[in-house]
Subunit: 349 residues, 2 copies
């Protein structure tokens, strides 16, 4: 029988950051564990506060999912199990993802294969990941750049009044390629195009979600004119969104926590390739558990932005490393994630 | 890589039988073999002459299927592989079935599990199978009954002028339960109902395909009135037929060679259970290779009619037996089929 257990956990940020309502020092996740015949798979639900899922909602969903899981003696029918769990309730994408990840990890462990080989994906090679450089006091940028010295691509969040000033400040200190996440911050398509045209002169690889997520017509307009790839983030959650957004963007930001996990991620990748869409594989603030799962896909991505574990100081999982700025798997069974914190206690359902 | 090879084969009947156009002594099949990392799965396409597939058409289809198979290094993504192969050409149901069976057998061998456990099905227990008693000269019936002494359910083909006479003759010698296959032989629904009502007094368990396969309205009429289960055979091939026939029959005759194999058979079983339809698992003239695959499902059937290997004298596969009239698997890895004829030469694609 597939035996599910879970543990709510708070990941602590290395660098707490200020927000309008206070300082964020932690972010919530739920780790799950699925056991079968002595083999164990791990999964993670990362829960950024603005997406609506909480540790409580995840645990509630796990009870629903468990009614499906306990019907299965073996972990082979991933499609059937994942499809049935998806149908138990709408939304709950991160909760669905943690089960999907744990099931894939479990199957890999059970048959002593990597998830990427089971899924017939290319073997992940060490790959440069972008890392977010948080912009606060511009005077601190040289110090932050020094800390990120090993990394070859920097991610900058824009969408405020001083966008040009930020880029110009960074460009005084480094000519590393940048990726830009606007988080829906530019509301006028003409302003957006002008900014993108300027960013094009600044070695920017892509611009993520430049306009509000439902402005489909403006995004089509912008896609036709933008000299840099425009990438859907908030506009695209699951496979079912792909048809609508494929004319609006040059590519997608694929995150396991948005798309319910690896099973659907592979479908999205295949669809994106058919449509000629670029793929960035992204993440939330999450541990090496979720990142190891995402890394299974990375050979099929144009860019990866899997810096989650770099931002936290109490990562309870190992199995990946970031040598010389490149994400790589150090383990090739299951997702590769290994439980490092042996004191983590899982609560059985 | 999944390596496909095949061998066309003629199964020889123990009892050649006369037809309008001559005597049939053999029936054609194609055996396939899929190898991966030293593990081997076997499948079978049984090709009754009236269904349109031939050894040539199967081999042609195998070339198409191989373009899919060779993209995969491991046998885990059965759904994806089988769906892609199904899409390469319409029809070719037996050709599709032999690949489906070999893939399931291979996966079982690869992970050292039975196919029924991988598919989360109940463990097959020894179960009475019906066996066909061929009706020619009525005087020979006592002798034929003696030969089938071990078997507890007899299958009789009706649909001719002397239907009552045949049943009465059998009933003079045995009171074993019967199943009746009309093969679309009764064209008038009133005559069919009258016959069924009489058969109901003769310990008949079900009546298969009493009316022509497209007479849906008459079948609905008959279903409402029949005191015995009416079972769809020619009216039902694949999962996509299930919706249409579910109001027309009390149950279905599920054959791997009709429904393209185990992957779709499980879907059909789940649908049939939801709709309250009875399930008979049937077969063509086929070896223990195909029957072992069908036997994986038998715990989910109301009746089984898996007598194929009993009718042939050069069965190249082992792995099942018919002790005291009950079909049972003697091996629980993969489908359980084992290659007994080591001289069988497979041709690589």
């Amino acid at each position: 029988m597939l035996k599910l257990s879970y543990t709510p956990f708070a990941l602590q940020f290395k660098h707490p950051f200020g927000l309008a309502y206070g300082t964020r020092t932690t972010t919530e996740v739920v780790f799950v564990r699925i056991e079968c015949d002595g083999f164990v798979g791990y999964g993670e639900a990362a829960l950024p506060p603005y997406l609506g899922e909480t540790q409580t909602s995840v645990v509630e969903f796990l009870y629903k999912a468990n009614t499906i899981l306990k019907k299965y003696a073996l972990p082979f029918l991933l499609e059937e199990i994942i499809t049935a769990i998806d149908a138990t309730a709408p939304n709950n994408n991160a909760a669905k993802a943690c089960i999907d990840i744990a099931l894939h990890d479990l199957l890999g462990k059970y048959v002593n294969k990597s998830v990427y080989s089971i899924l017939n994906l290319e073997k992940p090679q060490p790959q440069n990941t972008s890392v977010t450089i948080s912009i606060g006091d511009l005077n601190l940028i040289p110090e932050k750049l020094l800390e990120l010295n090993d990394y070859h691509v920097l991610k900058i969040k824009l969408g405020n009044k001083n966008d040009r000033q930020i880029i110009e400040c960074i460009r005084m200190h480094t000519d590393k390629p940048l990726v830009v996440d606007v988080n829906q911050g530019w509301t006028d398509k003409h302003v957006a195009l002008e900014m993108i045209q300027w960013l094009h002169t600044q070695n920017v690889l892509f611009v993520e979600q430049p306009l509000p997520k439902d402005n489909y017509n403006d995004m089509v307009w912008l896609k036709e004119r933008s000299p840099i790839a425009t990438i859907a983030d908030e506009s695209m959650q699951r496979f079912s969104d792909m048809n609508e957004i494929s004319d609006c963007f040059h590519g997608i930001n694929l995150k396991l926590m948005k798309c319910t996990g690896l099973y659907e991620a592979v479908k999205i990748i295949n669809y994106a390739k058919e449509k000629g869409l670029k793929i960035n594989i992204g993440c939330m603030s999450e541990s090496s558990c979720g990142i190891a799962a995402a890394a299974q896909l990375m050979q099929h991505a144009d860019w990866i932005d899997l810096d989650g574990p770099l931002l936290v100081k109490n990562n309870p999982f190992g199995g990946i490393n970031f040598t010389e700025g490149k994400l790589q798997l150090s383990n090739s069974t299951g997702t590769g994630a290994t439980l490092a914190d042996k004191n983590l206690e899982f609560i059985a359902l």
